[in-house]
């Protein structure tokens, strides 16, 4: 064990590692590290990019929490969307995944078709569904009228606008479905056989073998879903511009407006930090409780 030679060899190896990783290391310094610190700083200032940032302490945060006419509405909308969209997406992705996992002829074609909406750009999908949801001429209300049901105003009705957005987001459930499908295909066959021998029927096999086995993937989809839900605003912006009565106005939309349209960088930064803290808190809770329900294969 020649200690000197080992160290010389190691330094070269370490350097090589850093060299290969350097594009990303530079990237996180420039595109993550610096901006995170900068936005925290901005949140304590008023800054419109024309003059230098002016320090205002906690004033931005105070205004947001007490005087901003739309902040609490936007926060409510965002939470509403998260609470309904995320669990629904997971449940639907599991059900559709189970369906697409069936061994029938042509199942590959079905999988392709179910993923097709994800290939369409978000803007195209939004425009398409703006037509689908059109109260008088859209296909949804036309379809409902076949059953004698008079459809609601969907996007233009303050009570149906958020559910409409959730329906649209389920249209692209193909993404999570594929990930869930891959996990379903990986469930060890031996466990199914053992369960069958123990007399378990299909439903019990599902609950005691399948679901526990895919919990790591469900965890992944849950985290990704939560992150996405808190940043959601573009389809809403395209289809409704945040109305009616700001029922589809989301936090991320307000941040975009204040920063890019109004150049109120300090205020927008404070908004984004409130968002970050909420997201981190929820993510931490999910990570914390994950031990109880996520089963990893060892």
């Amino acid at each position: 064990m020649n200690q000197k030679r080992k160290t010389r060899h190691s330094i070269g190896t370490h350097l090589t590692g850093y060299l290969f990783a350097s594009p990303w290391l530079i990237g996180i310094a420039v595109f993550f590290g610096f901006p995170i610190l900068a936005s925290l700083y901005y949140s304590f200032t008023n800054y419109n990019m024309l003059n230098r940032p002016a320090f205002v302490g906690l004033s931005n945060y105070k205004v947001i929490l007490t005087q901003d006419p739309y902040f609490w509405k936007a926060l409510f909308n965002t939470f509403y969307f998260m609470i309904f969209n995320v669990p629904l997406t997971i449940v639907v992705s599991v059900l559709v995944g189970l369906l697409l996992n069936q061994k029938v002829r042509g199942i590959r074609i079905y999988r392709t078709l179910y993923y097709l909406p994800n290939v369409v750009s978000m803007i195209a999908a939004s425009l398409i569904f703006q037509w689908v949801f059109e109260p008088s001429f859209g296909i949804l209300n036309q379809f409902l009228s076949l059953f004698g049901i008079e459809g609601p105003g969907w996007l233009v009705d303050a009570h149906w606008s958020k559910p409409s957005l959730i329906i649209l987001s389920l249209w692209t459930v193909g993404g999570p479905v594929l990930i869930t499908l891959a996990a379903l295909q990986d469930v060890p066959k031996a466990q199914y056989e053992a369960a069958t021998i123990d007399g378990a029927n299909a439903l019990r096999r599902l609950w005691h073998v399948t679901i526990p086995s895919i919990t790591p993937t469900l965890f992944f989809n849950l985290i990704m879903g939560l992150i996405g839900a808190f940043q959601y605003f573009i389809p809403a912006m395209i289809m409704t511009s945040g109305g009616p009565v700001k029922s589809t106005y989301f936090i991320a939309h307000e941040i975009y407006e204040k920063a890019i349209l109004e150049y109120r960088m300090g205020y927008a930064s404070a908004l984004s930090w409130i968002l970050v803290i909420i997201v981190l808190a929820i993510t931490a809770i999910v990570f914390g409780t994950s031990r109880k329900w996520v089963h990893y294969e060892n």
């Binding site: 190896t13 990783a21 990303w24 398409i128 941040i255 890019i260 993510t283």
Partner: protein, 277 residues
């Protein structure tokens, strides 16, 4: 899963697949037929799916309403650079995480995961300020340069995939006296082609469809991308739905072509790269 292969079970499954599948497909079918309708036919009641007159000229008119070709070329330009950047960066950095030992590797891997969780809003504002100050607003630089530093997802994907390549291959390269870069270039890189293909395809599609980036960074109409350009239809006075939908259909053609040509990579790309664990 082994069930009895009864015919009615199979029929029921097909029925379910079709009923649920129609939710995914019907909007696109309706869009296709609506795009072909002449203006007045859009609003007749009771509404019909199929047009009385197939006005194929709608497609031509849609292409002429906005600078379609220019926007398409712009989107293509950006997408190609992003694909190159994504593949190169993910390959190099994924190699570092997967097959090299270096101090701090585990720490930085945790950082990698953390960056996937961060809401984009918090970094967007200072980046916007910096880009404005260095004159990158209204250029393609903000959309292209970050791709060359590697996205966490792509790096993660490639790392998972590279780890499945046997260590013996790298070791035999070392025994033959090759330095680390040659091992990477000659041995490992060719073996990661399936994962790189997945990254390339997704990078192209995401850039082609990207609305948020161009929305924030591009003001000049001449620089606009197709995704951003579609919105112009919406902003014409009196939305001409048939033209708008026609334009949307044309805009999704490259994605569709790519998708059907490489669907194996989409539908099985997840399994291919082992991300699900």
């Amino acid at each position: 899963m082994t069930y009895g292969s009864t015919w009615y079970r199979s029929l029921f499954t097909h029925l379910m697949l079709i009923v649920i599948g129609s939710f995914f497909i019907m909007p696109l079918v309706v869009v296709f037929f609506t795009a072909l309708k002449p203006g007045p036919e859009l609003y007749i009641l009771p509404p019909k799916l199929l047009p009385n007159v197939y006005q194929w000229s709608n497609f031509k008119e849609a292409v002429m309403t906005i600078p379609f070709v220019k926007y398409t070329l712009n989107s293509l330009f950006i997408a190609l650079f992003v694909v190159v950047g994504s593949v190169v960066s993910a390959s190099l950095v994924g190699y570092a995480f997967a097959r090299l030992q270096w101090k701090g590797r585990n720490f930085f891997f945790a950082v990698l995961i953390a960056t996937m969780i961060l809401p984009g809003q918090v970094t967007m504002i200072p980046l916007f300020v910096v880009f404005k100050q260095i004159g990158w607003l209204n250029t393609y630089y903000p959309l292209i340069v970050p791709a060359f530093t590697g996205s966490a997802f792509n790096i993660f994907l490639l790392r998972q995939f590279s780890r499945t390549i046997p260590q013996e291959l790298s070791d035999s390269g070392k025994i033959d006296g090759a330095n680390e870069f040659r091992i990477y270039w000659d041995i490992i890189l060719p073996l990661t082609k399936p994962a790189l293909a997945v990254i390339a395809i997704f990078a192209f599609m995401n850039t082609w469809n990207d609305f948020y980036g161009p929305l924030i960074y591009l003001n000049d109409k001449n620089l606009s991308t197709l995704a951003l350009g579609l919105r112009e239809f919406q902003q014409l006075h009196g939305v001409t739905w048939n033209l708008l939908l026609a334009a949307s259909l044309i805009a999704i053609i490259p994605s569709l072509v790519l998708f059907f040509a490489f669907q194996r990579y989409f539908v099985e790309g997840i399994t291919l790269t082992g991300i699900k664990g």
